[in-house]
């Protein structure tokens, strides 16, 4: 009989807690969303699988000695993985549309209001019993509104590592939900006439401008916001590799092999943070709600800023493109294009929306730098 007991004690069945089973269901839900619904599958698949692994009783994936523990320590605790991803994103980003029409940066700035308003909202949630967000926690949650996965993970790992799992899951889920969240807000804030506005063709941008641009961005960041230089610096390095044309091999590696490898580990490490004691809390619900609000507010302020600019400016601006200011490249720009086509089937806004879209990436990196400098 003793032997039976030993055998029984060595199975997972004897040690499953309710929380672990619930988290495995969450992991399976993430796998379902990735595989069947195709929501950001590149990230939700490893995150979901990481959640399964980390909740296995007795296996200890996320304790010292377990593989997920080390992947997290090496990659996310140090901030290395999100920064490498950011370099790859830089190598994939074409700033041509933004350089051709630099005023679009104002739209990228306006959409960051979603971040700071959510910071306010997260603190206000402390009135509700059960919530106790510090200023650090609130900042890490608010950056979900930047709609930029690596930035959110980088900031969360620095300011609120215990909330990282929920923040990363919220950020990537909402990025996948952009086509559902944004259009109603965009339509509510614009008239059909405004949505039909056609914009003039963008000018051709020389390669030299594209080469100088990332260096100029980095120079400004060094001078005015050194706290953002890890993010902006890696981003600019990737972009310079893309545009300079002399390191094509490095460019290809940064935007393909390297970013793919890092994505696997980043996803697993985020998944390792999906343990019951940290995820099955009322705070997670708060984070999910605040994330949706952050996206909504960012979209709204972007559209409103574009409306203001189109009133003031001599050149025509379709207010829809303001919605792309939340970053979420290139999904948000595609949504703008789609909503624009619904109003006017001959109006292709994609290239015009790419300007505010990449401006949003810079804007959220700057916002993250501000939060790191003031709260971190």
């Amino acid at each position: 009989m003793d032997k039976f007991d030993v055998l029984w004690q060595s199975t997972a069945l004897a040690h499953f807690t309710l929380g672990q089973m619930a988290m495995m269901l969450v992991g399976l839900l993430l796998l379902y969303l990735a595989i069947v619904k195709k929501f950001e599958p590149l990230l939700l698949l490893p995150i979901g699988f990481g959640a399964l692994l980390t909740n296995i009783p007795l296996a200890g994936f996320s304790q010292a000695g377990g593989i997920l523990f080390y992947i997290y320590e090496v990659g996310i605790d140090t901030g290395v993985f999100p920064l490498l991803i950011f370099m790859g994103v830089g190598a994939m980003t074409d700033f041509g549309a933004l350089i051709a029409n630099p005023r679009m940066l104002l739209l990228g700035a306006a959409a960051q209001f979603g971040i700071f308003a959510t910071l306010f909202g997260a603190i206000a949630l402390n009135w509700v019993p059960g919530f106790s967000f510090s200023l650090q926690d609130a900042s890490a949650i608010a950056i979900i509104g930047g709609a930029d996965g690596p930035t959110a993970i980088f900031l969360a790992s620095k300011l609120a590592p215990e909330l990282l799992g929920a923040i990363a899951v919220a950020a990537y889920s909402y990025m996948a939900l952009v086509p559902i969240i944004q259009p109603p807000i965009m339509k509510a804030l614009t008239t059909p006439e405004e949505r039909k506005i056609e914009m003039e063709q963008l000018r051709e941008v020389s390669q030299r401008e594209k080469i100088i641009f990332p260096i100029a961005v980095l120079l400004l960041t060094i001078l005015f916001l050194p706290a953002a230089t890890p993010l902006v610096g890696m981003f600019c390095l990737g972009n310079l590799m893309r545009e300079c044309g002399v390191v094509e091999r490095l460019n290809k590696t940064a935007q393909n092999e390297l970013i793919n490898i890092v994505t696997i580990f980043l996803g697993l490490a985020v998944g390792s943070k999906l343990s019951a004691d940290k995820f099955l809390t009322v705070e997670t619900l708060g984070i999910l709600a605040l994330g949706a609000i952050a996206f909504g507010i960012g979209t709204a302020t972007g559209v409103l800023m574009a409306k203001l600019m189109s009133r003031v400016s001599s050149r025509k601006i379709n207010p829809l493109i303001g919605a792309a200011g939340v970053s979420a490249v290139p999904m948000a720009a595609r949504v703008v294009n789609k909503v624009g086509l619904e109003a006017n089937p001959h109006n292709f806004l994609l290239m015009h929306a790419m300007g505010p879209n990449v401006a949003g990436v810079l804007g959220s990196a700057v916002a993250a730098g501000v939060l790191l400098a003031l709260v971190g």
């Binding site: 630099p102 402390n126 100088i212 916001l225």
Partner: protein, 94 residues
């Protein structure tokens, strides 16, 4: 949480909101100026420096067929094709 601490935190969050948004706008406005400067610089000094090098393949294909076919080769190929077609036609007829 105590309501006093929450209200002090709220004041801090509000100041973060104001400072953060002002800073983001100023920074990106500065960037607009910088982009315009770069554009002006590039218009003024339009040297043709690395032109289209991003589309150049990494390694040259081993045997690159020269694009231009000189007249003699063209004539030879033309004659050969003509001959072949003639033969082929006569074969079909047989």
């Amino acid at each position: 949480m105590k309501s006093e601490t929450v209200s002090t935190l709220l004041v801090e969050a509000a100041s973060l909101l104001a400072i953060g948004m002002v800073f983001v706008f100023l920074f990106l406005a500065l960037l607009i100026a910088a982009i315009n400067l770069i554009a002006a610089f590039c218009r003024k000094f339009p040297g043709n420096f690395p032109a289209e090098s991003s589309s150049v393949p990494l390694t040259k294909p081993l045997a690159t067929p020269s694009r231009k076919i000189d007249d003699t080769t063209l004539a030879v190929i033309g004659a050969a094709v003509h001959q072949y077609r003639k033969q082929h036609q006569s074969n079909v007829k047989d």
